[in-house]
Symmetry: C3
Subunit: 144 residues, 3 copies
Amino acid sequence: MPNSRGASTASKHVIEVRSSRRTQLINVTARVQELVTASGVGNGVCHLYVPHTTAGVLINEGYDPDVATDVEAAFDRIVPSGLKFKHAEGNSDSNLKLALTATSQTIFIENGRLALGRWQVIFFAEFDGPRHRELHVKIVPDPA
Amino acid sequence: MPNSRGASTASKHVIEVRSSRRTQLINVTARVQELVTASGVGNGVCHLYVPHTTAGVLINEGYDPDVATDVEAAFDRIVPSGLKFKHAEGNSDSNLKLALTATSQTIFIENGRLALGRWQVIFFAEFDGPRHRELHVKIVPDPA
Amino acid sequence: MPNSRGASTASKHVIEVRSSRRTQLINVTARVQELVTASGVGNGVCHLYVPHTTAGVLINEGYDPDVATDVEAAFDRIVPSGLKFKHAEGNSDSNLKLALTATSQTIFIENGRLALGRWQVIFFAEFDGPRHRELHVKIVPDPA
């Protein structure tokens, strides 16, 4: 990608994600870490950004896969299917689920690793799948 | 604004927003892009920050205006009006709606443009209008 | 902390937090400001990150303590206790409350102060206390 001002480490990277269910949390931690490692950045921040309106990015527990299943089910409970929406495409509940979660996250990088907590993983949060999606990643080293 | 350390591009900018309803999503994308363009930054990040406790900032679908209307209505459904609040001012439901959405967002800048997805717009999210509000913007170029 | 690339101002700082209730908003503003002051940074950004999966970080009203109490109670209403979860530890409601709030925040620094709005405070948001917790803080000056 052309980058007239920034160092190559700060260029935007794109991770392709393929979801298989309507509501699905997909663990993308290893793929983000690969980009951090390849950047050679020792200390800095990793910005994540989802360029979609019916999907987001969450950091939550990944050790027990039941947690992701529970969170997926709970989103479908909290946003009642009985809500009447004007938007004709039938995915306004997905827009709302995104509004309740997050489009962007900022994670610290320490000694070349994402500084996640012990039980944390990065989830791409699909709310209107199955689809092909993108997660955008920008890695910015601490100022010298 | 005095800025003893940072480049002028990183100074804080203020966008004035005027809401006309109690719950209202207001598209501010063009106004944020104007600041990005004026900064001359080619690649970097744009941080958005809302200095209020009953309003936030969201990135969601802006192509069909019904989506904003749907999301506004859904917030009023999810936070039940029947909840009993202790705070005497009568806007604790607004504080809660903010807690469920976001006070800050970070968007990438590429080649002088906000790197939004095809259907994405930036919404100032009013939860206790009508009021005069502010959206704070900081534009940080990628490190050289 | 060893920091091979970044200036010392951008090193990660850790604030220890001790919660005393299961759901609790704890005002940590003064402790974050202490770190900003100690860093000597005049203008920049302060990134906050919670390395836990059942706690987050919020910016909301701190002037009237009833607001925090109202928000705590409302979270327990919005995530219904009757939801059946598969995760055996019994804290999936806490994972979900985090998914609805935030793991990270970015606040501007102006003239050595956190640029919070008049009524805003930073809350560490405990959703599975009482526990010992950490809030991670990274202070990045604006580029020169």
